[in-house]
Symmetry: C2
Subunit: 128 residues, 2 copies
DNA sequence: GTTGACCTTCCTGTTGCGGGAACCTTTATG
DNA sequence: CATAAAGGTTCCCGCAACAGGAAGGTCAAC
C-alpha cells in the first residue's frame, strides 16, 4: 500500500508519515521503484501513533509508547508512569492557562472598549 | 544602561532583549563602543513587553499592544478586542486540554500499573 | 599586562511538521 | 503512441520564541 492510501486510512498527512520515518518511528518496506510500501503492521503502528499524538503525547513519548506496545514483556507500570507524567503536565498547563484567564478577563471586564484612549488593560501592562 | 542591568530590571533575559531588537520591537541607542544603551523609555517598553508576554500574548500581539500603548489617540476598543481574542484562544486551549485530561485520566485509572504486561492504555491506543 | 567579566555578532538547535521545488513513475487519455 | 495529469521521491526553507555556545572586541581591576 502506498503512502497516500496509508495516510487516508490512519488519518495522518503523508508529510507526517514521512517525517515519522525520517526520525525512525516507522520504517516501511520499499517497492522496486522506490515507493514506500505499508503493510498491516505499519498501518497499526501509524494508527497507534495517530491516537497517541491525539492524546497530546510528544513524539518522543510516542516512540516510547510504541516500543512498549511492541514489547510483549512490558510492565504496565511503565506505561502508566508515562501517562501519569503527561497528565501532570496537562494539569500544569491547565492551571497556567486558568491563571492567565483570570487576570486577563478581569482586565477585559474593566475596559470600556470604546473610541476613547483610556484603557485599564494598557494601564496595567504599563504599570510603572 | 547596559543590557545586563536592563535585563535585571525588566526581568527578561538578555538573549530575549536582543531578540526583541532583532525583530524591531525595541531599538536602544548605542554607545561609542557599540554596546547597547537603554534609557527610561526603553526600560518601560521592556517592562511592558515582559508583562504582555506574561499574559500569554504572542510577540506579534505584543508589537500591536506596544504601538497602542504609544498611541495617545488609541481607541480602547482596539486593545479590548485584542485581549478578548486572546481570551477566546485561551479558553479554546483550556477546553482542549480538559478533553485530553478526561480521556487520559480514565485510562490511567483503569491501568493497574504493575509488572504485568496487560495495559488498558496500550489497548486503547492500539485499538484495531 | 594580564585576568576575568562584560559586551558584540553569528550560527545552530529546539518541536512537529507544512510548503514547495526539482525530478521520477505510473496511469489515463486523445 | 505520445503526452499530460496524478501520483511518488528527496531536499531545503520556514514557523515561534528564544537558548546555547563560539569567536572575538572591551573594560575595569590588580
Amino acid at each position: 500500500m502506498n503512502i497516500s492510501e496509508a495516510s487516508r486510512i490512519c488519518g495522518l498527512p503523508a508529510k507526517t508519515i514521512r517525517y515519522y520515518e525520517e526520525i525512525g518511528l516507522i520504517m516501511p518496506g520499499r517497492l522496486a521503484n522506490g515507493y514506500r510500501d505499508y503493510g498491516d503492521t505499519d498501518l497499526h503502528k501509524l494508527g497507534f501513533l495517530q491516537r497517541s499524538r491525539g492524546l497530546g503525547f510528544s513524539v518522543e513519548d510516542c516512540r516510547m509508547l510504541l516500543s512498549l506496545y511492541e514489547d510483549r514483556n512490558r510492565a504496565s507500570g511503565d506505561v502508566k508512569k508515562l501517562a501519569q507524567d503527561h497528565l501532570t503536565e496537562i494539569d500544569r498547563k491547565i492551571a497556567e492557562l486558568k491563571g492567565l484567564r483570570r487576570t486577563l478577563s478581569q482586565l477585559v471586564d474593566q475596559c470600556q472598549g470604546d473610541d476613547r484612549p483610556h484603557c485599564p488593560i494598557i494601564d496595567d501592562l504599563a504599570r510603572q
